[in-house]
Each structure stands twice: as structure tokens, then as C-alpha cells.
């Protein structure tokens, strides 16, 4: 965000998360919130990643382990279903892949520059030895 002069911001270095009023934050999903320019929600840490998770919904059982253990609020679950990864906020730690219980895993790490379609097409099959 643009750097302002000394007379252009609120006193006390205070920050507002939302534009205007929000009545029920805990009852409002992120896509329905009016975030201000000062919420880190509008920022991106995508450039931190050297590896990225790719989600294969064909094997997902919606157990939500990836949702609960994601440190970066980057597993998007709606209506009890895992629907994808927020690639602006994912730092590529790989926890989601580690905690994924399916066989084969529904999430795997690939180099940041890997092509998602290609990786999905070449997804590993069930591994009987290491469940």
C-alpha cells in the first residue's frame, strides 16, 4: 500500500480491519467481508513459497485436518467441504500434505513453478506400503 505523509493517516497508528461497520464477524465468511486496505487479508505472501500444495479433490474425504492445522488460514472450506487453497496466503509449509490421511494424498507439494494440470494428470496411485 502507498506510503503516506505524516498528516495523512489516523492518529495513534491505529488500524481498522474493515471498511465501515460489520455486525457479526464470526457469522460472516471472508468473501462476504468488506476488508480495508489495512487487513493483511488483502496482502499476499505468495512470493515466500518455494513449493506449493496442489489439491486433488478426487481423493479428498473432507476430513478437514488440512483446514484445522493450516497455520495460514489458507485451506478454504465451505459447508464442510474442502474447496481449495488460498494461494495468496499459503506460505508453502507443507503441513496440509503431512496431515492429509488419504491414500494417495489429496494434497501434494510441487515446485512453485510446476503446472497444476500436469501434476494432477500424473497424480500418484494408491500406495499399499505407506498409508
Amino acid at each position: 500500500m502507498a506510503k503516506q505523509g505524516w498528516d495523512e493517516f489516523e492518529i495513534g497508528a491505529m488500524l481498522r480491519t474493515f471498511e465501515g461497520k460489520i455486525e457479526d464477524i464470526a457469522g460472516t465468511n471472508q468473501e462476504d467481508r468488506a476488508y480495508s486496505q489495512n487487513s493483511s487479508f488483502v496482502a499476499s505472501v505468495a512470493d515466500w513459497r518455494i513449493a506449493k500444495p496442489v489439491f486433488n479433490k478426487d481423493f479428498c474425504i473432507d476430513c478437514q485436518f488440512c483446514w484445522i492445522y493450516c497455520p495460514d488460514v489458507s485451506i478454504i472450506s465451505r459447508d464442510k467441504k474442502m474447496i481449495g487453497v488460498d494461494m495468496d496466503h499459503c506460505k508453502g509449509c507443507g503441513i496440509c500434505v503431512e496431515v492429509c490421511p488419504t491414500n494417495p494424498k489429496s494434497l501434494l507439494m510441487f515446485p512453485e513453478k510446476a503446472d497444476e494440470e500436469t501434476e494432477l494428470a500424473a497424480w500418484p496411485t494408491k500406495n499399499k506400503e505407506t498409508i
Partner: protein
């Protein structure tokens, strides 16, 4: 009293709308934010939050960005607990005087702080908050080290850990003193609830946080927070590290009600040897040299003794 949020299972929990945001500056794989999410998502009530200076604070409120969707305050290293106590006092005052803007809300007051900010520099402030009976919860994100400043020892750093101010070296095995039993100290304030939690045991965590929110008076929570940077393990292994911590009983999960009723809340089916917990972390690497292997044995004995102590307390209802 508002109704407790119903969280029967993980699928139901996953419908929570997070009030903590990504693009914060915590390390990839940091357990702090996993704990914070589990805590905040345990309730739908409004929240008034604080963080003492430390990793969580410096990574979530660096101007011009905030990662907090509820009102949040940071003052200093030692006084995050008192900041929330002050806010809670103002809430009570304005409630009495009928000046709350939204009088029907039922806010929860929570202060987060690291082990340095809780066991060491903020100890007196937290003790004061617990003693005075504020309706608040203090949560320690216990990674057993001053991680934010680069890995100096705190009074939560365990024996044999190599920290930058108690480094392992040619003639030293690192930290010489065992960590402070903070949960017992805080429970000795005879607060209504004190507990130890771990992020891998999310259901135990949520149950305890909800219990803490349901009681009147101060609550103390010690949460083990595996630190990829200072414990020296791969960021993807954070939850594995938490599993090792709870299942080796290095971090037993228990609660103390009113200072005199201890319940063990998690009994691992297969207890893992402490050696496995130590071996998984770079900070203990030097203990596997021949001359320090006796320390691993002592570690196991210490953990066993503590587990026996907790079991004795539970059996005796004290």
C-alpha cells in the same frame, strides 16, 4: 451468558469463519497461528484480544497491516495481560453505567503471550491479573525459547536444549535448568481454570477453551507451540512434533479446576519414548553424543516422574 458454540466434530468446526488472517509474517509452519485459530474459532462471541511483544505480535500487526479481525491491542513485552485486564475493567464499568454501544454482546477477553513474556518478563503482570479475578484468559504460546529475538533461553527452556544464551558447546550441553511449572504456579492462584493444551489435540483444546470461556474469572492456558525455527525441524513437521510432545508425555495434557482438582485429559494409547521427541529436534542434537546420553535417560526419568505426579494428583483429587 451466550450459548456455547456447538463443535461436535471437525467438519462442523470447519464451518467457522476465521477471525485471524493470512499474509501475516509468521514463519511457514509456525504453530502459533494454529493455536490462535483453534482458540478464536472455539467461540462465536465477540473478542477483545491482546498480544505481548513477541513472534505473534510482531508478525500480525506491522503497519499498515493487521491480521486481526477482532479488536486487538499490544502495549509492551510484559503487560499484554494487564492491557486486556484494563479493557475488561472498562467493559464492566461501561456495562454498569449503561454506556456500551452494543450492550447485548458477550465479549471474551484473551491475552496471548509467548513463554518469555509469560514465564519471565510478564510473570508479575499475569500473576496480578490472575489474583485480581479479571474475567479473562491468558494463553501462553509456549515454544520454550525467545524465538522472536533469535533463540535465547527463557525460564521455559528445558534442560539440554541449545539456546543462543545457553548454547551447547565443547564443554556444555546447553540449558542447565528445567522449565518452570507455570501451570501449577498459576493454578495456585486458585483461579477457576488452568490447563495445558496442544494444537494437535484440537478437540481437547476447544473443550478447554470453551470451558475457560464459560467460567467467571481468570483462566490460564499453556499451549505447546512447536517452533520450526528454534526447535530446528522441517516446517511441514509441526504437527508431528506436537504429536511427539503429547504422546511422549513431555507435554502432558491436563486441567486444574479451582486450583485443587487436577484431571488428565489425554492418555496416549502408545507412549512414545522421550528419546524420539528429542531426536526429532535440532536443539537437542548434541545430547546424542556419547558423553551426554545420560541426559536422555534423565529426561525420561523426569518425564516419568512428572506423569506419576500428575496421576497421583488426579487420583487424590487435588
Amino acid at each position: 451468558m451466550s450459548e456455547m458454540k456447538k463443535i461436535k466434530n471437525l467438519k462442523e468446526f470447519s464451518t467457522s469463519a476465521d477471525r485471524f488472517e493470512g499474509a501475516n509474517l509468521l514463519c511457514p509452519g509456525c504453530a502459533h497461528s494454529i493455536i490462535v485459530r483453534e482458540v478464536l474459532n472455539a467461540t462465536n462471541d465477540d473478542l477483545i484480544l491482546s498480544a505481548s511483544t513477541g513472534c505473534l505480535e510482531v508478525c500480525t500487526a506491522v503497519y499498515p497491516y493487521t491480521s486481526w479481525d477482532a479488536s486487538w491491542i499490544h502495549i509492551g513485552f510484559e503487560n499484554g495481560s494487564t492491557a486486556v485486564a484494563g479493557a475488561e475493567s472498562m467493559y464492566k464499568a461501561l456495562k454498569t453505567k449503561g454506556r456500551l454501544k452494543q450492550p447485548d454482546r458477550n465479549p471474551k477477553f484473551v491475552s496471548f503471550a509467548g513463554d518469555g513474556a509469560s514465564y519471565d518478563i510478564g510473570f508479575q503482570w499475569i500473576s496480578g491479573c490472575m489474583e485480581r479475578g479479571h474475567n479473562m484468559m491468558h494463553i501462553v504460546l509456549d515454544n520454550e525459547v525467545y524465538a522472536n529475538t533469535g533463540g535465547q533461553r527463557s525460564s521455559s527452556t528445558p534442560i539440554g536444549s541449545s539456546a543462543t544464551t545457553s548454547p551447547a558447546g565443547r564443554v556444555s550441553y546447553g540449558e542447565k535448568r528445567n522449565k518452570k511449572d507455570m501451570v501449577s504456579i498459576m493454578a495456585s492462584h486458585h483461579i477457576p481454570y488452568a490447563a495445558q493444551v496442544a494444537p494437535n489435540k484440537w478437540k481437547d483444546m476447544v473443550k478447554k477453551i470453551q470451558h475457560g470461556f464459560s467460567v467467571e474469572g481468570p483462566v490460564f492456558i499453556n499451549a505447546v507451540s512447536p517452533c520450526t525455527t528454534e526447535w530446528k525441524f522441517d516446517p511441514k513437521d509441526t504437527m508431528h512434533m506436537a504429536d511427539l510432545a503429547t504422546d511422549s508425555l513431555v507435554f502432558p495434557l491436563y486441567e486444574i479446576i479451582d486450583g485443587h482438582e487436577l484431571n488428565i485429559t489425554y492418555r496416549p494409547k502408545d507412549v512414545i519414548p522421550v528419546e524420539e521427541y528429542l531426536a526429532a529436534q535440532g536443539r537437542f542434537k548434541h545430547l546424542f553424543k556419547d558423553e551426554y546420553k545420560y541426559l536422555i535417560k534423565e529426561w525420561q526419568e523426569r518425564v516419568d516422574a512428572n506423569w506419576a505426579y500428575l496421576n497421583r494428583r488426579e487420583a487424590a483429587r487435588v
